[in-house]
């Protein structure tokens, strides 16, 4: 591998290199997004009753779904990293706590976790508050959306921590050794050397987690959060329009996940290594 085989005097910048050669063509998968969007529009305009009515009714729910997904995912990225690092820690206690957390969370259905956070955990706080004669704890009534975000974050961080862990472990040990031998601390080495490389490795699974999380937000409809699924159920209950409602709900979810997939692969392409 000699440098003379690289005629370019200056290398292409790392970011933005995805804009070259064949990748400049529009990704054909955008076609699928366009088809689904077109289908929604056609239904909406060709048959406004019930499709337009459904869309209007779903609208608020769409925003709730998007909001819960984005907030939870950001929190999952942070908490997952903390747990992932704890899993790799030399400290036995820290590692033990993180391992138990991951194993327990992964063994309980997401649905049960969300119900637990919304119904059971406030009850526990209230009982503690009653026994301590603490009025503010005894009357603890959390907001449904907050607890839903909490539950999703707590649940997904366990999976995400494993993604981080695998990504960090995939970086050769020599990278950490080189950084430490230059006098960097463990956290400096993580921040400047290991994580920037690990992020490139874990982008596909992180993207997967994002899309799965987006779909799993439908579970929060079980705890009175007015997300898109909940709105769909409400619409069905009040109008008895069943097929059209769920066709529309399914199509809107599909647009969101397809868009998320495109976004993920776009980010992936932009962050490839320069070789």
């Amino acid at each position: 591998m000699s440098s003379s085989s690289y005629p370019a005097p200056t290398p292409k910048p790392l970011v933005g290199s995805g804009k070259t050669e064949k990748t400049s063509r529009i990704d054909p998968w955008w076609g699928l997004v366009a088809v689904v969007v077109a289908l929604i529009l056609i239904l909406n305009f060709a048959s406004p009753d019930p499709y337009n009515r459904i869309l209007v009714f779903l609208q608020e729910g769409i925003w709730v779904t998007v909001k819960i997904t984005l907030i939870s995912f950001l929190l999952v990225l942070v908490l997952g990293l903390a747990v992932g690092l704890a899993r790799l820690s030399k400290n036995t206690i820290l590692r033990g706590i993180a391992t138990v957390y991951v194993e327990v969370i992964r063994g309980i259905p997401m649905m049960v976790q969300i119900i637990f956070w919304y119904f059971a955990s406030p009850a526990i706080v209230q009982e503690i508050g009653t026994s301590l004669n603490n009025a503010s704890l005894a009357n603890f009534r959390p907001d449904g959306t907050t607890m839903a975000i909490f539950g999703l974050t707590f649940g997904y961080a366990a999976y995400m921590s494993e993604v981080y862990r695998a990504g960090i472990q995939s970086i050769s040990r020599g990278q950490m050794e080189a950084a430490r031998s230059l006098g960097m601390t463990y956290f400096q080495a993580m921040r400047y050397i290991i994580l920037p490389q690990a992020v490139r490795v874990i982008l596909p699974p992180v993207g997967n987690e994002f899309i799965t999380l987006l779909k799993d937000t439908a579970l929060v409809s079980a705890v009175a959060v007015p997300d898109m699924t909940r709105r769909g159920r409400e619409f069905q209950a009040s109008t008895f329009i069943i097929i059209e409602t769920w066709v529309m709900v399914a199509l809107v979810y599909l647009v969101m996940t397809l868009l998320a997939t495109r976004l993920v692969s776009w980010v992936e392409k932009r962050s490839k290594f320069e070789r």
Binding site: P11, L14, A178, S181, G183, Q197
Partner: protein, 242 residues
């Protein structure tokens, strides 16, 4: 003269393997020591113990007056000791320039201009001033290893450790790395080099050491060790690599 590296009765176990067995070694300031030996003899392990990339189980190592015990001391020693690895270990996501800048900034807290001047000076010194904006994987092995040397030198180390720096290189690239190392030796850098490059040892080393089975078998000036070894083990080892 006080040795800059003092290794006293160091033991190291990998599970049941006794990798280092009561190793004693003093290295003086400005001295260049070449360590040879068959694979598994403990030579790399010994080298890695000097900046605590490997922990030892018994004994004492003092580097430039600092005992390797607390985390703080280990980091202090590491900023004074540069290390060059067999597999280069350049940071592939950073340009050559950034590879050399990063530790200067975050560890030595140097400013951008000062760090950059230092980096350019060192790239010139290792003979690749035109590669500053390339990424490591765009360079040949020999060029990568020279960048790695420049990266270590940017920290102004008092000691340089080389762990088989040419073993992963194509034959025609070995010399360019050895030339840089020889220059460095002649400038008075204290160097500990694990390598089988006898040519380098003859040209630059003050002392050659043969290790086997976790022990130092023989040490002498390279010329003496290569031409007139005293130990049978040294003779049989040299007959194999010559």
């Amino acid at each position: 003269m006080e040795p800059i590296i003092h290794i006293e009765n160091v033991h190291k176990w990998f599970g049941t393997v006794h990798a280092l067995q009561a190793v004693n070694l003093d290295i003086l300031k400005g001295e260049v020591v070449a360590i040879m030996g068959p694979s598994g003899s403990g030579k790399s392990t010994l080298l890695r113990c000097i900046n605590r990339l490997e922990e030892f189980d018994e004994g004492k190592i003092i580097v430039d007056g600092i005992t390797l015990d607390s985390t703080k001391n280990i980091n202090a020693v590491r900023t004074e000791v540069g290390m060059v690895f067999q597999s280069f270990n350049l940071f592939p996501h950073l340009s050559v320039m950034d590879n050399i800048l990063l530790a200067q900034k975050v560890v030595r807290k140097r400013g951008q201009i000062e760090s950059e001047n230092k980096a350019r000076f060192l790239l010139e010194k290792v003979g690749i001033p035109d590669k500053a904006n390339y990424y490591p994987l765009q360079l040949s092995g020999g060029q990568q290893q020279r960048v790695a040397i420049a990266r270590a030198l940017a920290m102004d180390p008092k000691i340089m450790l080389f762990d088989e720096p040419t073993s992963a290189l194509d034959p025609e690239m070995i010399q360019e790395v050895l030339d840089v190392m020889t220059d460095l030796a002649h400038e008075g850098m204290t160097m500990v080099v694990v390598s089988h490059e006898m040519g380098f040892a003859r040209a630059a080393a003050d002392r050659a050491i043969l290790m086997d089975a976790g022990q130092i078998i023989e040490e002498a000036p390279p010329e003496v060790l290569f031409t007139n070894p005293k130990q049978e083990r040294t003779k049989s080892f040299l007959s194999k690599i010559l």
